[in-house]
Symmetry: C3
Amino acid sequence: MEGSRINNKRAIVVGIPGVGKTTVITRAVEMLSMHGLNARLVVFGTVMFEEAMKMGVRHRDEMRRMSVEEQRRLQENAALKIASMSDDVIIIDTHLFISTKEGYYPGLPLHLLNLLKPTNLILVAAEPREILGRRMNDKTRQRDLVDEGEIAHELEIARIMLAACSILTGAPFAIVMNREGRVDEASQELASLLADGRRGVEQ
Amino acid sequence: MEGSRINNKRAIVVGIPGVGKTTVITRAVEMLSMHGLNARLVVFGTVMFEEAMKMGVRHRDEMRRMSVEEQRRLQENAALKIASMSDDVIIIDTHLFISTKEGYYPGLPLHLLNLLKPTNLILVAAEPREILGRRMNDKTRQRDLVDEGEIAHELEIARIMLAACSILTGAPFAIVMNREGRVDEASQELASLLADGRRGVEQ
Amino acid sequence: MEGSRINNKRAIVVGIPGVGKTTVITRAVEMLSMHGLNARLVVFGTVMFEEAMKMGVRHRDEMRRMSVEEQRRLQENAALKIASMSDDVIIIDTHLFISTKEGYYPGLPLHLLNLLKPTNLILVAAEPREILGRRMNDKTRQRDLVDEGEIAHELEIARIMLAACSILTGAPFAIVMNREGRVDEASQELASLLADGRRGVEQ
C-alpha cells in the first residue's frame, strides 16, 4: 500500500497565505540534502503545468481555460508523476482548497490522495498576529485584509481538513510552527519529521 | 467519472434550519428555467419515499419503521434515480445529518455521495441573528430554541462537513449568504454557480 | 454491507483524556449483560497486541519498535478479528488520534473503518471544567495541563472528526455526556443506544 522503497517519504505540506511556507520548505529540503538524503521540492501546480505542456499547452492561462474534466485529468497525471518519483524525501507544496468562481475546489480530493499516497501530512502554521503582519507587508499580492480572529479561524479549518485527510489516507499529520525570526527552527522540525522512518502507531 | 452530459450539473444544497433554503432554491430553479435551462428541484427524502412506494409502502410512517438496512437500500435507490436524471441542472435538497434516537445519521454518507456524483456542493447560510429571528417566528415547527452563539456553531459544523464532502467527491463547495430581505440576490448567486460549466481548478 | 447478524452492533467509542470513558463503557457493558444481551468490551490496542503475540512479539515495547508497515498490518488484523466477533453488542474502545514523534496517527483511518464496519460511533464527552478537574487529580499519568478553553477545543475537534467518520462509514454518531457524579446515567444512555436496532434514517 505504501511506496515501494524503504524510507521513501512523500510529504504533503500545506499552509494558509502568510505563514511563510515556501521559506520553511525550501530550507528543510536544503537541510535534508546536507544530511545526505536525496530530497526534492515539488510544487503540485508546476507539475500539473508540465503535464499540460506535454499536451501542447503553452501558457498557464491556456490551462485555466481547459474544461474541468481535462484539468482533473491533468491533476491525476501530476499525482501519478509525483507518486512515481524515487527520491528519499519528496516535499509536495500544494493547497487544501483553491478559490474559484464556482466555489472552493479541493486541492487534495480523495481520488488524488489515493494516487499520491502521501506518507506524511504537514501544516505550516504561525501566530495569527504574525500572519496578519506578513500579509500587510506583502505588496506583491492582492489579498483580502482580514483580522487576527479570521486568520485563527482559517488556521483552524486547515487543521481540521488536514486531520480529515489523515483519516482518509492513514498518514500521520503534524503541525510545524513558523515563529517570527526562527524560520530555521521550523525548517529543522519539518526536516526531522521526514528524516526517520521508524515510529510506532500502537494504540 | 462525471455525468455523461456536458454541463449537466447535480448540486447538493444543504443548510441549517432557519436559513431560508427552500425559498432560495425554489427561486434559483425559476431563474435558471427563465434562462432556458432545464432545471429541476429534487427533495431527496421525497425521492426516497417514491422509491418506497414502489415497494408497497403507503405512508412516510411506514418507511420510518423499516429496518435500517431497508432504508439504506431506499437511500441508494433514490441516489441512483437522481444520478440518472438528464436535466441540465438538478438541485438536490437534502440534510447533512438527520437527528434520530440512535444519534445523527449522515444524510450524505460516502457510499451515497459515490452514487449521487455531485458536481457542486452548496451551503445556504445566513447571519446567526437573522436565523434566530426566523426560528422564533416559525410557529409551525417545534424547534429547540438556541442562542446566536450556538447557531454560529451549527453553521461552522455545516461548513466543515461540506468541506469534508468536497474532499471526498472532488466537487467544489460554495457558501451562499441569504441576507434578510435580499433573497433574490442569494437565488441569483446560486443560479450563477450552476449556469456555467467552464472554470479552472489550476493549483 | 453490514454485519451478517441481525442486531449485531459494533460501536466505536472514543473520548478525550479525563472524560471518564473507561468507567462509562465498563458499566454500560454490565447493564447490557444484565438485560440478557451478549455484550463485550474490546480495547483495540489490546487486540492489536494479541495479534502481535501470535507473530512472536512478547512485550508492547517490541510492538512499538516494529516498522510502520508491520504495525499497520497488525491494526488491520485486529480490525478483522473484531469484525468477526459474533456477540450481540461489541463496544470498541479506541483513539481518534495517537500522538507520536511523526505527528498524530489516525486511530481510525478509512482502511480500518472499512474493515471494522462500525454500526455506531459514540463520543463520551463531559463539561470542560470537570475534565480539567479529573486531569489535575490524576497523578498516575503525565499529562500536559491545559485550560478549559483548550479542552473545549479538543472536544470540538473530536466531535468534528467523529462526524467525518460518520460520513465515511454511514454509521450514526452520538454524544454521551458523562456528568460529575452521574456516571450511571451516561452508561444507561450508552447502553440504550446499543440495545435496540430499529431506527429510522428517513430524510
